[in-house]
Symmetry: C2
Subunit: 221 residues, 2 copies
């Protein structure tokens, strides 16, 4: 009984996600679904990424939080449109919440939407929302064992940002072990070593993301 | 429909948790449900706590993980009984999983059971399992905004361990702000500033926990 309910919820979610994707394809909008544990650096990465791409692309951000608007306020300060989703306790965004948020944006005037999911290394990976790619962050203080313990998100993501590499001298994080375990789960995973604090590694990430968006735009034409 | 299903699941969970609690009271077993984000230091705190209390109390640990036995292996190395729960994808422990794990332990020979929940700052707080107290860890790299963003766990916990204070010189963590926000949500919350790496603050935590267990044992007699 419980399993049937879960399956129906996921099937309904997939259907709405496909509708979102179709709408976004028609409008030529690229969507990135950003996921991580709480405090791994999602908003910090978005601040760096929005600043780097704002001259080249028309950007918008959807902020998913259980409650409050702290992250949305940080992003709005950069001068891009932000839509806040408060999940009222729910531990992930779903396709229906995303659909409502898309309705609050003028998709004709947007090239890329960044979706910042709820901070949670488990549940967000189970719910597609209509994104082109999922990107996840693992921060060095979390430990190199995380791919083995939370495999689904590593399997579902196109790119892994290993953030807070500036803390490597002070934490017990085996970088090579983390990469090896992540790639064992997902050999296609693209890995970037980044510090949102110092800015190191951000350029590589921006170059790769720019290429993904350009490939999408070329196919959309 | 969806809301009804969720309510039924939570009511069924509460009922089983009460049965667990009744059994544990009869056997005089104190249970601590330990929760945090992935990588905040649950297993490290348990290693320190088990080592400090093993001479005085008879201990056991229930390890909750989505998959793998990495944490259980670390705890088993300390020579205490460990039961592994693999949730097979689920993002929290529930009362029924805990009931099965309790069945694998000889409760006549145990004073304290530590339950290490799945690494997740959201969902575990919604599911009681029959514990005496919930304890949560917030690690300094996660940021001082976490109480505002994930309020339920701070509200539900009897104690907050602020871990990784050895990283304070290297991360942007406003300790006073974090404590203020946590206490605004839960004025009864007992806060400990700890480094599981250096051992600082562990003694205070052990003293407080010992007192809680002694009070429980006195009432149980």
């Amino acid at each position: 009984m419980k399993i049937t309910v879960v399956r129906n919820v996921l099937e309904a979610n997939d259907r709405i996600a496909q509708e979102n994707r179709q709408l976004l394809n028609e409008k030529g909008v690229y969507v990135l679904n950003l996921m991580s544990s709480p405090g791994a650096g999602k908003t910090s990465l978005l601040e760096k990424t929005v600043s780097a791409l704002a001259d080249r692309f028309r950007l918008a951000v959807i902020e998913g939080d259980i409650q409050d608007t702290l992250d949305a306020d940080r992003i709005a300060a950069l001068g891009v449109p932000v839509v806040q989703i408060n999940t009222q306790g729910a531990c992930h965004l779903d396709a229906n919440m995303t659909k409502e948020a898309l309705g609050a944006l003028d998709l004709e005037l947007i090239d890329i939407i960044f979706i910042e999911n709820v901070g949670n290394l488990v549940c967000p990976a189970e719910f597609v929302v209509g994104e082109n790619i999922k990107v996840m962050i693992l921060s060095t203080p979390e430990g190199a064992d995380k791919p083995s313990k939370y495999p689904l998100m590593f399997k579902e993501s196109a790119a892994l940002i290993i953030n807070k590499v500036d803390l490597l001298p002070y934490v017990d994080f085996d970088l090579e072990m983390a990469k090896k375990r992540a790639l064992a789960l997902n050999p296609e995973l693209r890995i970037f070593e980044v510090s949102c604090k110092t800015g190191s590694g951000i350029d590589d990430w921006i170059r790769w993301l720019t290429l993904q968006v350009e490939l999408f735009q070329r196919d959309a034409r």
